[in-house]
């Protein structure tokens, strides 16, 4: 659960397949890819439009449904297993686990995507500058990345989020602003963003390093292009594939990290829903109410898997295009 994007990127790199097998593998990968895409689209639509989708109940709603005697009852105490009333069953408080899982997906996706987006902007810029100019940024980034790799990010995240709670509760001001806004949601996003900067920067740096050796960059310089123009026109567009791969792999890693963090109590606070939090709340009841633990875990797994599948495919696709020239 370290945020080590490049590790995952390299482990997912398989050696080139011989053509016949490659074709087969490609078609199978196709299936994985389309599964991933469908899952993500379905999930994203549900997550971001939950309020307007009739079959998704409210995150905090405690529905009353017809019990065995026909009267309306609360579904508390895990009264309902997975079924027509409650697709994923009900939880201890009688809330609908399906709805909770969907809202948890919204949280996980928002936090991960915003963090990776931010990290791409900051880390991408730093990485590009480092790769192009080398020098001190390069050294600082490599030390930071080494430092991050030397330590599980989940611990630093938990530590900082815990302290952010105090910061939010305190009267401390920064530039005249208090920290009232610093909810857990923001804390998680900020720390994820922060922790993702160095790995993203490292990948972008490596890419930039190799790109800046490319002759078209030399050509552009020999044509008298200024550095900003070279960075924006020549290098940036060629970073896109790597960045897309980073987005997918990075989001997958952050989803997993959010799950772990929520499990140890450092993502959003109840009553907000998070997969890891649901697992933590319900795991001791797995004997009686397996659904309350298994479905959130399944959602987490499938979503991470989907991002990995799509990311894997995207990375390969761009690679193939590059090398087939």
């Amino acid at each position: 659960m370290t945020i080590a994007l490049d590790d995952t990127l390299t482990t997912s790199d398989e050696p080139e397949q011989p053509p016949a097998a490659a074709k087969k593998v490609r078609s199978r990968r196709q299936i994985g890819f389309w599964f991933g895409v469908s899952w993500l689209v379905l999930l994203a639509v549900h997550a971001f439009f939950a309020e307007w989708i009739p079959w998704v109940r409210g995150e905090q709603e405690v529905p009353r449904v017809a019990g065995p005697d026909g009267e309306l009852i609360r579904a508390s105490g895990y009264r309902f297993g997975p079924g027509l009333d409650f697709w994923f069953g009900s939880d201890a408080l009688g809330k609908d686990l399906f709805a909770r899982c969907i809202y948890a997906a919204r949280l996980a996706l928002t936090v991960s995507i915003v963090s990776i987006g931010g990290a791409l902007i900051i880390g991408g810029t730093l990485g590009m500058l480092a790769g192009y100019f080398k020098g001190w940024i390069d050294r600082v980034i490599s030390v930071l990345v080494d430092a991050l790799l030397a330590f599980p990010a989940i611990v630093i995240a938990a530590l900082v989020i815990g302290r952010f709670d105090s910061l939010q509760a305190s009267d401390i001001e920064f530039l005249g602003f208090g920290f009232d806004w610093l909810s857990r949601r923001w804390s998680v996003t900020i720390i994820f963003l922060f922790l993702s900067i160095a790995p993203v920067a490292r990948i972008v740096r490596a890419q930039t390093l190799s790109l800046s050796e490319r002759e078209y960059v030399l050509a552009a310089r020999s044509l008298g292009a200024r550095t900003p123009r070279i960075l924006v026109r020549e290098i940036l567009p060629n970073l896109v594939p790597a960045m897309v791969a980073v987005i997918f792999t990075g989001v997958a890693i952050l989803l997993a990290a959010e799950g772990g963090l929520a499990f140890i109590g450092y993502s959003v606070k109840p009553p907000e829903a998070s997969w890891g939090l649901m697992i933590s709340e319900n795991r001791t009841r797995i004997d009686d109410a397996w659904w309350a633990t298994v479905f959130p875990a399944l959602m987490l797994f499938l979503t991470v898997l989907a991002f990995n599948l799509v990311g894997d495919r995207v990375a390969k696709r761009f690679d193939i295009r590059e090398t087939s020239l």
Partner: protein, 604 residues
């Protein structure tokens, strides 16, 4: 009254409803009982002989609480045998350090501590206090002077002799410590702040009372000896205490006189104690105690997990207050148990009464009326607990089945809140909770119910010790939190939790977490402390109960029931002898969820 038939699937129970575990300072069982209680009082203070007049008594309530039925614990089925090791599962571990003066000790911590510390007195199976490490305690007629005579020939584990100097050093340390001084504030103190004691000989000394420590204002305190059965009466080696104070000894490597020696303490995980071969006590048959070689206490927070561990044989003894687990095991012929359904705690939601909006009775009562405790128990505890309407549990002095409790009325609550907000603007309540699953669920439930009557609720997760520390020392930042009240039978043991003098700056420590400073309750507590007549005293206690109900100072939610389950091989639970007496030590008295292990042994 408020019980409903409970239909539920097995094993859905939770550790009681809202449990922020209170630390237990005082062994608070009572000798003076209801008329029909089985009591044969021989050594108790002269509280029955000379009842002073009181004119401020309500007639006894018609709903007499059911008297505790005291039964003789079962005799061991097997021949006693020496040796063996048992593992005990407890729900929490709140000590730290193990110095009696500084321990923040909840009931499971008392369970552990009393294997290596002995108290000066202990409560017997008939609920009377009995001299334990002390040989006797003489009380003068108006219960203002206590002469304590110690047993001779007892050494601490490190060889330091247990004598008057040692006991006085302990008492002075304990009675003046930050945590305990509030509990024994009415013991006289000298000008230098130390406890006023007079050493009569090497094994005898006296203590005297004094209102707020003032030696010139002695007050009768007939029940004081019970306090010596709690944390304040635990005796630790002065050699070790001095060394720990100086930083030369580990303050977690406790040295007492108890039946076991503390050999390994792993905070938050386990405590291991080993047999003290030189223990001073033998059983009635003259067998040297204790029998067991080693006991390991293991902290397993989740009661379900603790139950499973007992079932799988990982544990030999397990204490739980989870009603469903209790129900589950009570049916199980494979295990034996001690049921502790009296003098135990009440779960309630405590308010911070210094918040202006919570000082408003209308707001408090609205918040109370918004909560359907039956439903809350149903939701959070699988319906297995008994709802509570006041601060007392059955058996406790002052327990009533009808105290004027307002009860669930969301419409009235919504109305009251609407009226309040129309005048004062929106109302936001910050509910603090420790981040355990059950407590978080309670918090979510309350947020829902209070939200429904128009109150904004924020939930603040905070670590237990931080919460308690903040409540004890600082201005409380919370609005409300779930609390498991203090066990005990008589209302005097709640004095320091509810009396206005237990609020800083009057007291160094705000043991009165909710900052309850109600003149009526203050006066009733003071009267009760000095009252000899148990009926009159119960009247005061019932008045306190009614006052709580009418003022909505707390939201009572459920009563705690404790069960201590053990493998049948563990014998003699409940048969730890009282020295020089035919009775046994009362398991769980004041410290629900614990049993004495001095005479326990493992049958083959």
């Amino acid at each position: 009254m408020l019980t409903r038939p409970i239909k539920n699937r097995r094993g859905l129970g939770r550790t009681a409803v809202a449990t922020l575990v209170a630390f237990t300072l005082v062994a608070a069982a009572c000798g003076g009982d209801d008329d029909d209680a089985v009591t044969t009082d021989t050594t108790a203070p002269a509280d029955d002989t000379d009842p002073p007049d009181t004119d401020d008594t309500d007639p006894p309530d018609t709903d007499e609480p059911e008297a505790p039925v005291v039964t003789e614990p079962p005799a061991a089925e097997a021949e006693v045998s020496y040796g063996g090791r048992i593992v005990v599962g407890v729900e929490a571990e709140t000590a730290n350090p193990w110095r009696p003066a500084n321990m923040n000790c909840a009931s499971s911590c008392q369970f552990i501590a009393r294997t290596f510390f002995d108290p000066l007195v202990a409560v017997d199976s008939e609920l009377d206090w009995e001299p334990y490490l002390a040989e006797s305690i003489d009380i003068n007629d108006d219960a203002t002077v206590f002469t304590i005579t110690l047993r001779e020939g007892i050494d601490f584990h490190d060889g330091t002799p247990f004598d008057a100097d040692a006991a006085m050093q302990n008492i002075n340390g304990n009675f003046t410590s930050l945590l305990l001084s509030g509990a024994v504030k009415d013991i006289a103190k000298g000008p230098d702040g130390s406890v006023l004691m007079e050493k009569l000989d090497d094994f005898t000394f006296t203590l005297q009372t004094g209102f707020n420590g003032d030696p010139d204002n002695p007050i009768p305190w007939p029940l004081f000896p019970y306090y010596l059965g709690g944390q304040a009466g635990l005796m630790a080696s002065p050699t070790w205490l001095d060394a720990a104070e100086a930083g030369e000894a580990d303050e977690t490597q406790a040295v007492g006189t108890g039946p076991f020696l503390l050999t390994n303490y792993a905070p938050g995980d386990r405590t291991t104690v080993q047999r003290n071969p030189d223990y001073w006590l033998s059983d009635d048959d003259g067998n040297q105690l204790p029998f067991l070689d080693e006991i390991e206490f293991r902290v397993i927070e989740d009661s379900q997990v603790r139950g499973e561990a007992l079932r799988s044989g990982d544990l030999d003894i397990m204490a739980t207050s989870d009603s469903l687990v209790i129900a589950d095991f009570a049916d199980d012929a494979n295990f034996e148990y001690v049921n502790q359904d009296q003098f135990s705690e009440t779960n309630y939601i405590m308010f911070n009464l210094t918040q202006p909006y919570l000082a408003d009775r209308d707001v408090r009562c609205a918040l109370l009326q918004a909560v359907d405790t039956v439903d809350l128990i149903e939701v959070v505890a699988g319906g297995a607990s008994t709802p509570s309407i006041g601060p007392f549990t059955p058996g406790q002095e002052g327990f009533l089945t009808d105290n004027g409790y307002l009860g669930y009325d969301p419409d009235a609550a919504a109305e009251a809140i609407a009226a309040w907000t129309a005048e004062n603007g929106p109302l936001t309540i910050n509910y603090s909770t420790t981040p355990t699953v059950t407590n978080l669920q309670t918090a979510q439930y309350l947020a829902g119910e209070w939200g429904a009557i128009g109150v904004n609720v924020t939930i603040d997760q905070i670590e237990q010790s931080t919460l308690i520390n903040n409540a004890l020392f600082a201005d409380p930042a919370f609005d409300a939190f779930g609390w498991r009240n203090h066990a005990g039978l008589f209302v005097d043991s709640q004095y320091f939790w509810w009396h206005g003098s237990s609020i800083s700056p009057d007291s160094p420590l705000s043991l009165n977490f909710g900052r309850l400073d109600d003149p009526v309750i203050n006066e009733l507590l003071e009267l009760s402390r000095s009252e000899f007549d148990e009926d009159v005293r119960r009247g005061y206690a019932e008045d306190i109960n009614r006052r709580f109900a009418s003022e909505c100072f707390i939201i009572p939610t459920s009563q705690t029931q404790w069960g201590v389950f053990h493998q049948p091989a563990v014998q003699n639970i409940g048969r730890s002898p009282v020295p020089d007496d035919s009775t046994f030590l009362r398991d769980g008295a004041g410290f629900p969820g614990q049993v004495w292990l001095t005479a326990a042994f493992l049958a083959d």
